[in-house]
């Protein structure tokens, strides 16, 4: 029996053709997806399946020189509400009441706060609406355990300052993005912030991380703690003394800096007006000027305190000795310009020590004449005037120094610079220069950070930075003695004489420079050190525009004297005044 071959008909071939064509298209698409565009689709799938999360490390703490906390971070929560979950009015009301009750934003019933929360959510176009920022950690845990519908809590941190406003102008503050905006917080942002880590996780169809599909790609590195040179007790003390002095002399502002002259460590720094956490309001534009630390940003003409620098240059260069004499007539004629002493006084025959004791302007001009403009300016530069000291605080100014090669330079500028006018400095520059005069002649870099502490507790000390030698050790010892003679023995009754310690120092009273001249206001200042033979502290006191018009000796020197006694006693340095050492009082 023969088998008849079946011939294909249109009914067979047509579907076969379409199915074949369809298979070819599918196959082609598979080739495109799996081979040609494999990388693109693989990356898309990875994005869908894998999520990433930035792990923010805790910000480092700021400690005082004895390890007491000045600024640290605590965990807080930001409260968000999913607006979709609160579409139903009844649900929103009950949830907002529950939330407000836990947050205790309204102390009586919670109704007003609940209403405010609902309004915030309703007025926002976002899905997840931020309703409260930085609630207490423990309150947040209560909110989480309450499981209020639509309420989401995200972890955050808040900076706290246990010492309150003490040292705020030095410490600065951080912004909402947790980065430093002023002070040490801004200056050491990289150190304090640490390094964020990264977590990679696989997620399910709802976007939730899959257990065991989570791994840390990069561990976050905790920010380092900073140990400052500041002492919290001394900081509070100088802030208190500055406020008292400003009130007593009706001063518009002021500054006090306490430095270790041997190392450049700043033990305390108070400025006014200055930043206060308790009254800080960033929405008030007038408070923006409080963000700068005036001790390093603002310039002033130092007046007679500059005679210390002039005398140091003259002694070091050997053009005068402490007992070199000249005759003071009360005035000096510089190229036709008459320069007077303070209050037109004249002192007759005077030594160079007498020039400092009586703060004689003509004596300073006498010394600078012997030095010459070029040499004097070499010393000014060596002492660091005209450029920032390099202190670790942002916004430092370099000062203004008119130089002999400036187009409008005149010899009168040189003469007035000798007694602290025609030159603008910051308080930090001034105290740093005087430190070099009394510490043996080396210019040290002022600094606020004493050590870094890593997350594992390793502590790295910051070594004092010596910029250069400015004057010889012999010249420095001579200047220490001359400045000690300014304050003199107890019998001299100088207002800058501490009760229990020997000390040296120099006052300054200068009119405030304005455009093309000076106005009627003044700045009274005093720079002093104690004990006289081996200075442990150097203190600069500056009072701006004191309305009682008392001089630096009258207004600022007593502040130094009181502080020297208090600070040295706190530092357990025994009195060295001969009266007390001999037990006579």
């Amino acid at each position: 029996m023969t088998q008849q071959r079946v011939r294909g008909t249109r009914r067979v071939w047509l579907p076969a053709f379409f199915f074949g064509a369809f298979a070819v298209v599918i196959f082609g698409r598979l080739v495109q997806v799996q081979l040609i565009e494999h990388d693109i689709y693989a990356a898309r799938a990875e994005t869908e399946r894998v999520g990433a999360e930035t792990l923010n490390p805790p910000r480092g703490a700021i400690l005082d020189r004895n390890g007491h906390v000045l600024a640290t971070s605590v965990n807080t929560w930001d409260v968000y509400v999913n607006s979709r979950a609160w579409r139903d009015g009844a649900d929103a009301e009950s949830a907002s009441q529950a939330l407000a009750g836990l947050l205790q934003t309204d102390y009586d019933t919670g109704n007003i706060a609940a209403e405010q929360i609902r309004e915030t959510v309703q007025q926002s176009k976002a899905v997840d609406v931020l309703v409260v920022r930085d609630i207490d950690y423990e309150v947040g845990l209560q909110v989480i355990s309450a499981g209020i519908p639509g309420v989401i809590l995200l972890s955050n941190t808040e900076r706290v300052n246990p010492e309150g406003d003490t040292g705020a102008s030095v410490l600065g503050f951080i912004g909402l993005d947790k980065s430093g905006l002023a002070g040490i917080e801004a200056q050491y942002e990289d150190v304090l912030r640490g390094k964020p880590g990264k977590a990679i996780y696989e997620r399910d169809t709802t976007g939730e991380p899959i257990p065991f599909g989570h791994y840390i790609a990069m561990d976050p590195v905790r920010g380092q703690d900073l140990v400052l040179t500041i002492d919290r007790y001394l900081q509070g003390l100088v802030e208190e003394r500055l406020a008292e002095a400003m009130e007593q002399h009706q001063a518009r502002g002021g500054a006090i800096i306490v430095m270790n002259p041997k190392t450049g460590e700043i033990l305390a720094l108070a400025t006014s007006p200055g930043l206060k956490y308790s009254t800080l309001d960033l929405s008030d534009a007038s408070q923006m000027e409080l963000l700068r630390n005036r001790a390093v940003t603002d310039l002033y003409e130092p007046g007679s305190v500059m005679k210390v620098i002039t005398a140091a240059a003259a002694i070091d260069r050997g053009v005068v000795r402490p007992d070199t004499t000249y005759v003071d007539t009360g005035v000096v004629n510089v190229e036709g310009t008459i320069l007077n002493n303070w209050r037109y006084e004249s002192y007759g025959l005077q030594t160079m020590t007498g020039v400092l004791q009586h703060s004689i302007n003509t004596g300073a001009v006498f010394m600078v004449d012997l030095l010459g403009a070029e040499v004097f300016h070499e010393y000014l530069e060596a002492f660091g005037f005209g450029k920032p000291t390099g202190i670790d605080l942002n916004g430092e100014s370099g000062g203004i120094v008119r130089r002999p090669n400036d187009p409008d330079w005149s010899p009168v500028d040189l003469a007035t610079q000798a007694f602290g006018q025609s030159i603008s400095v910051t308080p930090m520059q001034m105290i740093t220069a005087v430190a070099a005069v009394i510490n043996g002649g080396e210019l040290v870099r002022p600094h606020f950070v004493k050590a870094y502490v890593d997350s594992d507790g390793t502590r790295r000390e910051v070594e004092p930075g010596v910029e250069r030698r400015v004057i010889s050790e012999e010249a420095s010892a001579t200047l220490r003695q001359m400045l000690t003679d300014v304050i003199g023995p107890a019998s001299r009754l100088h207002p800058g004489k501490p009760d229990y310690y020997t000390a040296g120092g120099k006052s300054g009273t200068a009119n405030v420079a304005v455009w093309n001249g000076y106005d009627d206001t003044q700045i009274a200042s005093f720079v002093g050190f104690a004990p006289a033979d081996d200075p442990e502290i150097l203190v600069l006191v500056k009072l701006d525009e004191n309305q009682d018009f008392e001089t630096g000796t009258q207004a600022a020197a007593p502040v130094f004297a009181q502080l020297a006694d208090e600070i040295l006693q706190y530092l357990s340095i025994p009195p060295d005044d001969p009266v007390y050492v001999s037990g006579g009082r």
């Binding site: 007491h68 906390v69 971070s73 965990n75």
Partner: protein
């Protein structure tokens, strides 16, 4: 057609069930192994998922404890702050003291106040002064100083 009456043949015997002795144990074991192998990933996955949830839970607890530690540290800092100490001192009737008297004596001073240990340098390990036995052996060798 007449039926022929003839005797029936012997009835067919129904086969008895296969006795146990004839079970193919090898096959059973193979099936068991295959079955267990198939179940193993399921068990493993289930166990991993449970452990993952436990791990997540522990991580949450760790984060919570870390948060509480930082909160406690902050509380300690607040309670030892100078304004708080001053306020407390005034509450219990203390007043600022007079100027101290300094007396020079030949005895060492008091130990310095204790500070938060975590922020201070670690203790320096100092030897007890006795030499280890192996180091004392080295002394017998003719080594250069």
């Amino acid at each position: 057609m007449a039926a022929i009456n003839h005797p029936l043949g012997s009835p067919r015997r129904i086969p008895l069930p296969v006795p146990f002795a004839r079970v193919n144990w090898l096959l059973v074991v193979a099936v068991g192994i295959v079955g267990l192998s198939a179940m193993l990933p399921v068990i493993q996955n289930s166990s991993a998922t449970s452990a993952g949830f436990a791990l997540q839970d522990l991580e949450g607890q760790q984060a919570q404890l870390e948060g509480e530690i930082r909160l406690l540290e902050s509380d300690v800092a607040r309670l030892t702050s100078l304004p708080r100490i001053e306020r407390r001192a005034l509450d219990i009737g203390l007043t600022p003291g007079p100027s101290p008297y300094f007396v020079t004596v030949s005895e060492p001073g008091p130990a310095p106040a204790k500070l938060p240990a975590e922020y201070l340098p670690g203790p320096v390990r100092q030897g007890d002064g006795t030499e280890s036995w192996w180091r004392s052996l080295l002394r017998w060798l003719p080594l250069p100083d």
